[in-house]
């Protein structure tokens, strides 16, 4: 059928049967798209544009139902997700809100499914493209930002949500429009483009998160980003320094509690201290108290070599770096 380009209802039915047996058959998905494009879409009469759009929409809806059934069975199959994207792009009346509800269903089963997360970003982009004002578009990013907060509050270990948050923050800091919502601190921060205030607020969230589960790596990796160039280069030096010192103090307090409980240091506290101390050293003038900070870095590396021997060579390299810099 495929070779002879037999585009018919029977062929379409057959592709469905084959994909029910094995949804990985990408050639069959291709054939199915060819049948839809060259046969099913063309069957719709051209006479009335409005009727044509409605008929096409109806056709795509039934295709989406087929796709949804496949996705529920195989939520990690690339080809199925891709076919769904293709369907939506061929329909001028796609219902983006409906797609977001569908994604929430997938998150209930697996909140780290990276296909579902990527699909969500795609849907959000389509939805934004359908809006005519910049104000409305940035409002969508703001709602997405709040969605990541919700997902993180549900499970601080959801690294996919932390990742998405980082992307949305960048967008919200660029956006020129004024966000409207209730009296939300984050919203004021984005409207004012105030990275310092943002960091203070975000570090509160981080602190709650690392007290909730000090052994979860997601939060600690995210913390490093907050002290990277993206923020630090826009802040006055003394403010960066104060934030760094305060955060190191917070982490040390947590580590003391952890050490009391477990009898040994918390690795992630030490790893984060190491990163923050190195950032601090970059900010400090050479003649300042930097020597004592360097000694701390060295001590932390020694502890980590003991506690995390799998990565001992990494800590040795840090030690060497610090030694050669002085």
């Amino acid at each position: 059928m495929k070779e002879s380009k037999l585009y018919s209802d029977k062929s379409l039915f057959r592709t469905g049967q084959l994909l029910n047996l094995n949804p990985e058959l990408y050639t069959i998905w291709n054939f199915r798209r060819d049948i839809l494009t060259n046969f099913k879409f063309k069957q719709i009469p051209d006479t009335d544009p409005l009727k044509k759009t409605a008929a096409l929409h109806k056709l795509i809806i039934s295709e989406l139902q087929f796709v949804q059934a496949k996705l529920s069975q195989y939520p990690k199959c690339y080809w199925i997700w891709d076919h769904r994207r293709w369907c939506l792009l061929n329909d001028s009346q796609s219902d983006w809100k409906h797609e977001l509800d569908l994604i929430s269903m997938f998150f209930q089963a697996d909140s780290r499914n990276f296909h579902a997360w990527q699909y969500r970003r795609f849907i959000i982009q389509c939805y934004k493209d359908s809006l005519s004002s910049e104000d409305a578009r940035i409002q969508v990013d703001w709602d997405e930002f709040k969605f990541t907060t919700k997902m993180i509050n549900k499970d601080i270990s959801n690294y996919s949500a932390w990742h998405n948050r980082s992307k949305l923050i960048e967008k919200l800091f660029i956006g020129s429009s004024v966000l409207k919502d209730d009296n939300d601190v984050y919203l004021q921060v984005f409207n004012a483009k105030d990275k310092l205030k943002f960091l203070r607020k975000e570090l509160d969230l981080i602190k709650t998160a690392f007290y909730t589960d000090p052994d979860d790596s997601s939060v600690w990796i995210y913390l490093k980003w907050l002290f990277g160039d993206y923020y630090i280069k826009d802040l006055p030096k003394n403010e960066s320094r104060k934030l760094l010192e305060d955060t190191i103090k917070d982490i040390d307090e947590l580590n003391e509690l952890e050490t009391e409980d477990n009898g040994f240091d918390n690795q992630w506290c030490l790893k984060s201290d190491l990163f923050l101390l190195k950032s601090l050293l970059k900010l400090l003038p050479k003649d300042d108290s930097s020597e004592s900070w360097k000694e701390r870095v060295d001590t932390i590396c020694d502890k980590l070599i003991q506690l995390d021997p799998m990565r001992k060579n990494k800590y040795r390299e840090h030690k060497l770096q610090i030694a050669t810099e002085s």
């Binding site: 058959l25 050639t27 790596s217 997601s218 980003w225 160039d229 993206y230 990494k314």
Partner: protein, 326 residues
């Protein structure tokens, strides 16, 4: 420690092709060309490539050539796709029969097929239906590298796109905005390496990436020593390749514990019937068998052929590829 059961793995791979009656065999048509590449590469690393009849392999690859679009499908009569095209070229390159097998017309239309899939933003779609993913950038760039057909326009576009896929944690995702994933780190670093553009990465970002990669080695639990693909996920033997190849490309292989990782891979062998699985005591498959063995090769396991971390083919093969810029 258990040793690598070479003879059993060779027998396991050899037997894969003898099961043509099984339903599983027909159910895996969609990745037969990839499967053949996985099996043959494993045999090359085990110095037993002659276990497969070269003529049969040539015949199969020829039968997968797509007359309509150029390039190769995963199975006779299947549409060509970048994924199966790369596998076909890799197999031919390893057996050193590329020029004897492809007619000049086939070679030309394969190059045309690959180049036609590059999009204006520098990315590649896997086939004419528009799915974009850094996997396809890598497969296109490596394919063109094997054919020695890279050029500045293609390379600059691809490199630009790849750099836009780097995230807050230093890792890379499927497309700009997508979460970091170890396999995507491999496709992105591999692309940059082939294009001679590793130095285009920001240095702080590279440091974050190295840190993120080394943290993939899991400390606690029953799978200690194995590597995972994303934070807070279970280890899987295939990441012995995706993560390790990246660390090797960045010259930081010693940032994880190679001995512990060897232990994890060896524990995932089927000691009775050969083959390696994703985790100890699971069902084996040829994909994990290759990436387990390739990981061991990078770790310098005795009597394995050294593997090239960029191309996932033996170094003695990739040494013969003319490197870009020409």
């Amino acid at each position: 420690m258990t040793t690598l059961e070479k003879a059993k793995h060779i027998a396991y791979i050899k037997a894969l092709d003898d099961h043509k009656d099984f339903i599983e065999y027909w159910m895996s048509e969609h990745l037969r060309m990839n499967g053949l590449y996985w099996g043959i590469t494993a045999l090359f690393l085990l110095k037993h490539e002659s276990e497969f009849q070269k003529d049969d392999v040539i015949q199969f690859i020829q039968s997968c050539y797509d007359e309509t679009h150029g390039g190769f499908g995963s199975f006779p009569k299947h549409d060509s796709h970048l994924l199966s095209t790369l596998s076909a070229l890799q197999i031919l390159k390893m057996y050193d029969i590329l020029d004897d097998t492809l007619t000049s017309e086939q070679r030309l239309s394969t190059v045309r097929f690959i180049k036609s899939l590059q999009l204006p933003d520098g990315s590649f779609q896997g086939d004419r239906f528009g799915e974009v993913d850094t996997r396809f950038v890598y497969t296109a760039i490596q394919s063109l590298s094997i054919l020695e057909e890279l050029d500045q326009g293609i390379v600059d576009g691809a490199v630009g796109f790849i750099l836009r896929c780097q995230n807050f944690d230093g890792g890379f995702g499927m497309v700009p905005g997508a979460e970091s994933h170890a396999a995507q780190c491999f496709t992105c670093l591999g692309t940059l390496a082939i294009c001679g553009a590793l130095d285009k990465m920001d240095q702080d970002q590279t440091e974050l990436l190295v840190d993120w990669l080394s943290e993939r080695q899991v400390i606690s639990g029953e799978f200690s020593g194995g590597l995972n693909g994303r934070p807070e996920k279970l280890p899987d033997v295939c990441y012995s390749w995706w993560v390790l190849s990246c660390l090797s490309i960045l010259k930081k292989l010693d940032f994880i514990d190679g001995e512990k990782l060897k232990g994890f891979i060896l524990k995932s062998q089927d000691l009775k019937s050969g083959g390696i699985s994703d985790r100890p005591d699971n069902q084996v498959d040829v994909y994990h068998t290759l990436f387990g063995i390739a990981g061991l090769s990078l770790l310098g396991y005795e009597d394995l052929v050294p593997v090239d971390p960029v191309y996932c083919m033996p170094c003695f093969v990739t040494n013969t590829i003319k490197k870009y810029p020409y």
